[in-house]
């Protein structure tokens, strides 16, 4: 009975391998079933995202399991064994627990602190629950991993600041304007990065979208997609008068917006603030424009600077998160060891002895006149009863049966024994 992880992520495998290894859609169900049916695997969960594929298991023997899992993966994904060996990392026991906690808490993510992974892990777990491939061990571990991740998010600021350019742009927009949903947004030019930022901004809700582009057809196309209004590039200055947020990336080799032009725009706008984001290289907006009052101009390097600073903050927070994880591993290990049969047998016997003692004393108080011989006889009988009662479960556990974990859990539940609690006391 051992927790076991086999997986690969963005650090160990490039995208082609990850693609090949992914358990997509219907393949997941089949993969999970076959994974669970491997001879050494007793419980199974598969986490498959674009950045990682991980197989979590409760195995009898790590070495054997690792062999059979590798064979299974290579066969299932039709992938070269040596390629697989290179990409795969294997953990068991405490290292496996730690790894799963770190993954859930987004410490192992490409962008440390990104929040999606926790949802993906939850989904993977729920899918496994639904397909009944998990048992007491992985259920507890997954729940614990989720709660650890929540604690990390609550107690550290790991997920607080934007670490992508488009996130940083939206964050800034929110510090300039009260309510983005009443702002007009203009997309000037249609670079890939600009589109991404635009999409992100729009997912936060803006009032109106204007798309200006050198090629009017492309502007129309994008405008349709964003549900906005297309304009010719030559008309953009007129549109600037009522645009509050402008993302610019036209690919023009020179400035297309100069300071005196912007000054006139501001006058017409009655100085209402405007947020200009110039992500074109070379720059399209004269940087001197940032000197104007109520104009906030950010270029790609400025945004990158913010992202870098936030990344640095996150790294500091990640150290705190690692400490939290260290703290959480210990109690889990304790619980794990309590699953072993010996403590359960001991606890069961103690419980029985305790009941015997209490009942015997009660009886003695009621009949104080009994002589020594009678007392002995009663005590013998009580001992015989408890021995006969607890012998079958004890013997069954000692045989080390297939479903030992389950049996231990049942015994603990039926008799109300909590080994973990006892140890803590």
């Amino acid at each position: 009975m051992k927790i076991f992880v086999a997986g690969l992520n963005h650090n160990t495998a490039d995208v082609e391998v990850r693609e090949k290894m992914a358990f997509n859609g219907s393949r997941l169900e089949e993969g999970l079933r076959r994974f669970r049916e491997l001879p050494d695997v007793e419980e199974a969960v598969i986490l498959s995202t674009c950045n990682r594929v991980e197989l979590y298991a409760n195995v009898k023997d790590s070495t054997k399991a690792s062999e059979s899992i590798k064979a299974f993966l290579s066969d299932f994904h039709d992938i070269n064994r040596s390629l697989l060996d290179k990409a795969l990392y294997i953990y068991d026991d405490i290292n496996a627990i730690k790894h799963i906690f770190r993954v859930a808490s987004s410490l192992d993510s490409m962008v440390v602190g990104e929040p999606q992974i926790l949802g993906q892990l939850k989904e993977a777990f729920e899918f496994a629950l639904e397909k009944k491939t998990t048992g007491i061990l992985l259920n507890r571990l997954m729940k614990k991993a989720i709660s650890v991740a929540k604690r990390v998010r609550r107690d550290t600021r790991i997920a607080e600041n934007a670490v992508s350019i488009s996130f940083a742009a939206v964050e800034l927009a929110k510090k300039i304007f009260t309510d983005l949903s009443e702002k007009v947004f203009m997309l000037l030019g249609a670079g890939e990065m600009a589109e991404l930022a635009a999409r992100h901004l729009m997912s936060n809700g803006v009032k109106e979208v204007i798309v200006a582009n050198r090629s009017y057809n492309r502007a129309c196309e994008l405008a349709r997609e964003f549900n906005g209004k297309p304009v010719k590039l030559d008309d953009f200055l007129r549109e600037m008068v009522h645009s509050d947020i402008v993302i610019c990336s036209t690919g023009a080799p020179h400035y297309i917006l100069l300071k005196d032009q912007m000054q006139r725009v501001m006058k017409e706008r009655k100085q209402r603030p405007v947020f200009l984001i110039d992500i074109s290289v070379p720059r399209n907006i004269d940087p001197k424009i940032n000197d104007l009052d109520n104009v906030y101009l950010y270029n790609i390097d400025d945004l990158q600077g913010i992202v870098d600073a936030n990344m640095f903050e996150r790294k500091k927070e990640a150290e705190k998160a690692e400490k939290i994880i260290e703290e959480e591993i210990d109690p889990f290990l304790k619980w794990l060891s309590s699953l072993d049969s010996v403590p359960t047998i001991v606890a069961l016997r103690e419980k029985a002895e305790e009941i015997k003692r209490e009942e015997f004393e009660k009886l003695m108080n009621r009949f104080p006149d009994l002589d020594e011989k009678q007392r002995k006889a009663i005590e013998c009988m009580a001992s015989a009863i408890i021995n006969k009662l607890i012998h079958p479960p004890t013997a069954a556990l000692k045989e080390d049966p297939e479903d030992k974990d389950l049996m231990i859990a049942i015994i603990k539940k039926l008799y109300g024994i909590d080994v973990e609690e006892k140890e803590n006391k």
Partner: protein
């Protein structure tokens, strides 16, 4: 009794000021709750002190310099709580409490005894004129705090270094709107104060306007805030310029408030 309440208010405002400064550097919900709690207790004691003096003197306790400075700070805290209730800008506390504390401290150093009121001042105008005047000035004090916050936030956004309290200050637009709101609250009150003042002067001394230093200063501040409002409506002077003007406006109010007292001349010498 009145003195104890006043000292209590002073001590709690002092503690709140310290906590509010810590709050700037250390973001924790509990710190901001402690801060609001301290201000609340201070305000309660302060209110009790004002009521006590009202009862003892039999008229609104804004008749000497101690009382007026005290009432000024009380009005600022009152408007802060109204804003806090409506807009939840507890960080404003860090920008306003120091002002409140300094005002209270100077108030504490002035003679506090309740003297009989000179017959000239015994009029219902006393209550109307002074309350309106100080509430107006308190609104400007908060506009000063909000304006300062605007400049700090604007500095972060312009300089592109988003550290410090950037994340905790409201958006520029919010601060600008709040600043304008406070000025449009303070301005009619100041106007009303000048009008009631001159009506009172007419009934007490027989002339509406006598170019008394405080009258001149009030008129000056009235013009400054009129300019702020006018410039915004007509020329779109908002944001940074509006913030700087509202800071300047309040500094002039403070200078006038204390300066005239130091010069010690004119009709308003009693406050």
């Amino acid at each position: 009794m009145g003195t104890i309440l006043f000292e209590l208010a002073l001590i709690f405002y002092f503690a709140a000021t310290i906590v509010s400064i810590i709050e700037l550097f250390k973001e924790k919900k509990i710190i901001s709750q402690i801060m609001l709690f301290l201000v609340g207790i201070g305000f309660a004691a302060h209110t009790a002190n004002i009521i006590y003096r009202y009862v003892v003197a039999g008229h609104i306790p804004i008749t000497n310099f101690h009382e007026s400075t005290s009432f000024f700070s009380w009005s600022i805290v009152l408007i802060f709580f109204i804003l806090q209730f409506r807009y939840k800008v507890s960080i404003l506390c860090s920008f306003v409490m120091p002002v409140v504390f300094v005002l209270m401290l100077s108030s504490s150093m002035l003679p506090q005894e309740i003297k009989p009121l000179s017959p000239v001042l015994q009029s219902y105008w006393l209550t109307i004129h002074t309350v309106v005047a100080f509430l107006g000035n308190a609104a400007f004090a908060l506009a000063f705090g909000v304006g300062t916050m605007y400049l700090v936030q604007e500095h972060y956004v312009k300089s592109k270094h988003l550290g410090g309290i950037f994340g905790r200050l409201p958006s520029l637009q919010t601060l600008d709107a709040l600043n304008y709101k406070l000025i449009t609250l303070g301005f009619p009150l100041l106007t009303l104060a000048i009008i009631t003042g001159s009506l009172w002067a007419e009934s007490a001394w027989g002339s509406y306007w006598r170019w008394d230093p405080r009258e001149v200063w009030s008129l000056t501040t009235w013009f400054i805030y009129a300019i702020i409002i006018h410039a915004r409506l007509v020329a779109g002077w908002r944001g940074k310029r509006a913030a700087i003007l509202s800071i300047a406006g309040f500094l002039i109010i403070l200078a006038a408030f204390f300066g005239i007292k130091v010069l010690g001349k004119g009709l308003h010498v009693f406050i």
